[in-house]
Amino acid sequence: MEALHFHHKVNQRAAGTKVMAIVGVVASGNLEVLVERILPESDCELDIKTAAVGFGAVWEQVVADFVELRSPGGLKLSVNDGGARPDTVALRLAQAVRLIEELDP
């Protein structure tokens, strides 16, 4: 297992008011993303635990793309990864933000 941490300054807060959302399952080639609205609106953090050791540089790229594309200000994303490919990771991160931006029922 390898633990990674990323912190980004972002331009915009994530839309919506929901405080928590979760997507995905921890399995081979899959991951779960827990997203919580607990940070200042200018910040975004990612805590990653991955079963695939030695891919820190790839994670850094995927996370940088995600932050630029989604501007997830105020969100902390916690990831448990079972060795997913970068495209799957990008998809789950996007799904997590979309879920927390949904209107509260």
């Binding site: 921890v26 635990k49 991955t50 079963a51 079972g82």
Partner: protein
Amino acid sequence: MSAAPIAKRDAEAEAQRKAASWYEASARERVRLFLDVHSFQEFIGPEQREISPHLHIFNLPEQFDDGMIAGRGLLEGQRVFVAAQEGRFMGGAFGEVHGAKLTGLLRAVRDAKSIPLVILFDTGGVRLQEANAGELAIAEIMRALIEARTAGAKVLGLIGGRAGCYGGGGLIAGCCSALAVSEQGRISVSGPEVIETNRGVEEFDSKDRALVWRTMGGKHRRLIGGAEIFVDDTIESFRVAAIQLCRCASAFDTAVLQSEQMRLKQRLRQFGFCPDAVDIWRSQGIENPDAVPDMAADDFIALANRIREPRYDAR
């Protein structure tokens, strides 16, 4: 919300449930779609990070809910408790935290007395990495389940996930008030590979998928009375079945236990000599038993109801 948007919202939810495969859905999707819209409230949700204390020792990834979702909600307006296993995380297996969440929920069910619990099983049994803690969890759950039933609550099991319901999960299912199963849902204690490893390929060929399905699959369980209701694979069908079981499932008293004892005795007498499920179906009076595995769900349900009315006076 006024009446018109609510009616529209409920109609949309029903359409979603009819389109969604139980087998393909995650545990969270099952719970969300199975209950009335927006009615689910989770206990000890993933944000509390009650993760397994064992998996990190084995350098294995954890899941924030440890593969068990517990909570309450509404089923057609009626209060229910609900527990759901995520079959894709560690094969839905029971670890220490995973099991403790269900034990705690069952104690809440016991104390509430009249509110049913629906368990969405999807499990291979005990999580081997948590060995004794997992085995103890199974024992605690069975005790708590019987206490909940003794207090007057119904505990219903729904089985149709990719892991089936095996090992200790099969024992817990056997303690439930009633079960609904789909074709994909398999119920047993020892799984195919376990039987083959212990007793040899002559006893059970785990690679023979047709044999596995006709011995442990939903159709056979329905026909021999191991499950009360057979459903097709949609979330709507499981929901309709659960609503019916909430009404019909048996209470838990001496009369029910005696009737269950009689049922099992009779089953053994009637089918004990049959070497294969097909022989059982033939002796039940099914004219073309070889056709049962390929039968469409609706045709099978009609056949099963003709051969054996579901009974609710045992268990």
